[in-house]
Symmetry: D2
Subunit: 353 residues, 4 copies
Amino acid sequence: MSNYFGNRIKIDIFGQSHSKAIGVTIEGLPAGIDIDEDKLREFLKRRAPGRDQLTTGRKEADEYEIICGMADGKTCGAPLTALIYNKDQHSKDYSNIKDMPRPGHADYTAAVKYDGYNDIAGGGKFSGRLTAPMCIAGGIIMQLLEKEGIRITSHIYSIKDIKDTPYDLNGPFTDVSNRELPVLDKEVIEPMKAAVLEAKNRLDSVGGIIECAITGLRAGIGEPMFDGIENLISRTVFAIPAVKGIEFGRGFEAAGIYGSENNDEFCLSEGQIVTKTNNHGGILGGITSGMPIVFRAAFKPTPSIARPQQSVSLSKMQEGTLEIKGRHDPCIVLRALPCVESAAAIALYDAMT
Amino acid sequence: MSNYFGNRIKIDIFGQSHSKAIGVTIEGLPAGIDIDEDKLREFLKRRAPGRDQLTTGRKEADEYEIICGMADGKTCGAPLTALIYNKDQHSKDYSNIKDMPRPGHADYTAAVKYDGYNDIAGGGKFSGRLTAPMCIAGGIIMQLLEKEGIRITSHIYSIKDIKDTPYDLNGPFTDVSNRELPVLDKEVIEPMKAAVLEAKNRLDSVGGIIECAITGLRAGIGEPMFDGIENLISRTVFAIPAVKGIEFGRGFEAAGIYGSENNDEFCLSEGQIVTKTNNHGGILGGITSGMPIVFRAAFKPTPSIARPQQSVSLSKMQEGTLEIKGRHDPCIVLRALPCVESAAAIALYDAMT
Amino acid sequence: MSNYFGNRIKIDIFGQSHSKAIGVTIEGLPAGIDIDEDKLREFLKRRAPGRDQLTTGRKEADEYEIICGMADGKTCGAPLTALIYNKDQHSKDYSNIKDMPRPGHADYTAAVKYDGYNDIAGGGKFSGRLTAPMCIAGGIIMQLLEKEGIRITSHIYSIKDIKDTPYDLNGPFTDVSNRELPVLDKEVIEPMKAAVLEAKNRLDSVGGIIECAITGLRAGIGEPMFDGIENLISRTVFAIPAVKGIEFGRGFEAAGIYGSENNDEFCLSEGQIVTKTNNHGGILGGITSGMPIVFRAAFKPTPSIARPQQSVSLSKMQEGTLEIKGRHDPCIVLRALPCVESAAAIALYDAMT
Amino acid sequence: MSNYFGNRIKIDIFGQSHSKAIGVTIEGLPAGIDIDEDKLREFLKRRAPGRDQLTTGRKEADEYEIICGMADGKTCGAPLTALIYNKDQHSKDYSNIKDMPRPGHADYTAAVKYDGYNDIAGGGKFSGRLTAPMCIAGGIIMQLLEKEGIRITSHIYSIKDIKDTPYDLNGPFTDVSNRELPVLDKEVIEPMKAAVLEAKNRLDSVGGIIECAITGLRAGIGEPMFDGIENLISRTVFAIPAVKGIEFGRGFEAAGIYGSENNDEFCLSEGQIVTKTNNHGGILGGITSGMPIVFRAAFKPTPSIARPQQSVSLSKMQEGTLEIKGRHDPCIVLRALPCVESAAAIALYDAMT
């Protein structure tokens, strides 16, 4: 089963790109909490398309409606369900894609799995659009976490070969969500924009890496083995379409250095036990150390590109050429930051029993 | 909960490094199958220490006993439980570690989580020793997968800065498990050995990367979102202590290239739909494409190093210096290959409903 | 977590009695099936109120809308979500109930659990209204089961002290769903109606027992121990408000007889292994025997009665008298048959891996 | 999956009647607790056979060994696994039962489910012997519950047609576990013994009902719908072989009375909100009310009887006569009380998040 995550909190996402509505049911929210809906809308806007020429021309208002789970303006202990009605559906013909799967997409694997009955319109249940309900859940949970002093931030670590300054693993982690592009080093904004536009102009796309940090955590959250924090976060982050890799703390780099370089020695800071360095990225043995959690998620380039590509007609079992029409993001990384933050929030909150 | 994984197949691992026994209960094996125990023992040997000067001097026979789940030499539908009795336990004094957590280990995070009641001896439940029962489960499941033509192989992709030839993502994937070091390019064996010995001699350790490939899969296995193949494999692979990163197919590299470079075009090969390239690593939308699954897992250097390190006395809340005695692997990557294969096997089999 | 059931099929119910909508998400339906919506509507009508003077005067159209999970008129492998918008909500004042919990209801236990933030309007998430989405799920699943030759029927076994003829445990199990009251013996219809009306007239209510049978099952479905068919069915049936007991086959009666009377001997019938009698109610060791499953569920009388009842003011911690206004069913058994059938269908389908 | 239960606490039972060992893994016990092993052994003795002529002549010492999960005499946060080695296995020939399933047993259903590979010796995984590890888990959890003032007691409500005085649903619930037979009314001891012996002498068996009460619970534990307390307890109680029915509070009787008779009015007692009567058996809307939980479980007569019974040869597909040799309990109710208490303890503790 796929659209479902959690134990303490349960997140159940439903809908297809072009179904009447998409949405999410969240069970396990404490009763009696206020949801700051203005803040939630602001959060969702960071994911919404249509902002400028860097993102898809589609306009998805992403206006949600909470249809249950509240009473007198507060959560009431019942599952909270929020819907987003799909308005901007182009009722265009998807039969070419149905017959000839798009490279890099789930068209072919879904056709095999669902015997050809999968909803192909707009990518169906595999659409990046399904990250909108994930962000509703994530945005609400981030509000809960913030009340406990836990803050989740992210920045664009790289787009194609253009790299932002990485986070210092010990922090601080500046909030750059309001910048034109959410990067630490403003000098990389123009080169990144240029890289995206160049890809767009050559009917192509580019990928990138998002770096995410979580601060304010106490030590002792998580479990060894299968339900460690790394296990849970990787499980939710890979739920975001296009993610192909994840690493925590110093990550892959740690594989190339000595133990004496990678080990983080313990020391005292203001009476608290901390580590001098944070190569472990806040997690030891699957359990939080109290240091910031830092991880990076690699996004492949948007698979939807306007160039002709080779594919195979499923009905004729014959090779052919496919051209994908439509409005697509030349770089989904720009819109994926709240998705990564949401995935982290959901995983973390679930572990905080 | 942590020591438990799965839906179709359930893996429940128990034991601590120095408890009377460690073991695993596997529920969901089909009834009526033979287990090739010679083959299983061979598989476990690849994880066992004490082979040479590259690994720890500890001798863990890892002789398992199946105590239930079989009748007349075949699985009988009941849960199968296998035990490994712990014999080579040094009843040494762990009180120094108990009070002064080892950098890079779970000593501190476990002490916080379990209010100081965690079993510290040999690392307790956080010990790499718990990968032995994981390998029992994995080894049995790999036998089931092989009957369906599915094969899992791995090689050392790198140790410190010494890199083996990477897999061609399209295969073939040569079985190198019998080589002195499981690498594709025999020229790197001596340099890798030298790097490990050098680390050992300087009372240090090194990390590395393991690359794993799975072939023989049909298309259509897996789910979108939270239970995709990437989600499941990453969840099980992060259960192996010291893993800090994972990537599928072209992984992090895909973030730096164009969509037109990364997309894998579909074509026909012997009447089957395949992709020309395999940058997607066999998984699209969480679902297998029929192409080989290829992933890499990054291991940090063994945190147990003999050099003095700074830590904090938990009882005195005072900084101090810790020296770790004992016999430790200067590079756990050498023994971790069957663990990675097992994690992949468990995740994959669970998805094959 | 409460509103969620299943492994093979996942049922996630949401909504409160007076929230904007209630609904259900079903994950795990096979792709490519048709849903006979006329048949589903007929099924839901059996649960709907407002039919006659025996049920509540409230009119709940229970018109559902499927908002996702379908493509081209068939299921598409994506979760199917169906909504029922709440129209007939009396925006009356529930503050008296909020302060003074109704005997026999969940008002008090919910107030304690949710710190007083529970939605009290119409019973909130504890309302019998939430059985409507359960019946949507059940009705759809029953259509799947019917395609495999599995049929679920039920009748009113008793209302108060008036008993219908019980099922012969070996069958056949006549479909009486179209009768004025779904009973086997038409002679009990008038006495039952009289009993309900008498209760209504004395501002009271009555309970009853529903007997349910499932035929067409193959042997070998289910598991021993915690996930046996009895375990699963009892778990789903107790999800229906007001159920206080369940028994399978000869049930409690079996506790009073000899083993030689209760054991069902095996014999051959048309080349098939069957049992002569069916005291075991189709389940042995948690697993189906191929004989019909028969069980009975006991419903307490509707707790909402118009008589003054003693309760306690939660704000004043002072005893007082409560009078419940509103339109209530004097006997919910009349409307609960499709709920019991749905609960059985969901449990059974989940076990049919 | 079957041998596994829980969320907060996880119980994983393994073993067959005649495998080398049976056992249980418990995950989720708090770290740092003492287990009173004398008390646990006393508890297990209540389930053990071989006490007198009323129970089977088999001697199962049921001596368990804890092989992990403890450090320095206390739980350490790691899963606790306890084993019972099977000593008194008669290596007799089970081939007759293998071919000709015993009426009332799972022999036939297991043979179908597991394609004939099921372990038939002693009933395999379907044996009542598997309630021993359930009682280890239950006994440990009852010790945890007692520290919170929660007490679980039970008595024999009936054997065949001989009834003990039922519990007053409001309590008190006298501990009668030390009596020759655990009944409230000592006058029924001799008649009950006579009934069991009479059954034994006529090569037959008898069933009975166990009534169980749980006191000391706070209000507010549990969930509506699928994970209510009734749902959880029924799920665990039906895991005990031979249970065919369960009812809570007034149970089936409530179906025959008026709402005004069944509703439990709220009042104050020593400043606490209680109900005057306890027909609801301590659970409203799936959630504890703070009143005692009372339930009854119906046990069918032991299916193993020495009389010749008709069955079918699976290999020849031919009817025949079966005679069961061996030592069997003429009435398992006598030994099932700690099993029922354990099932209740496990379910309840799991709900107490």
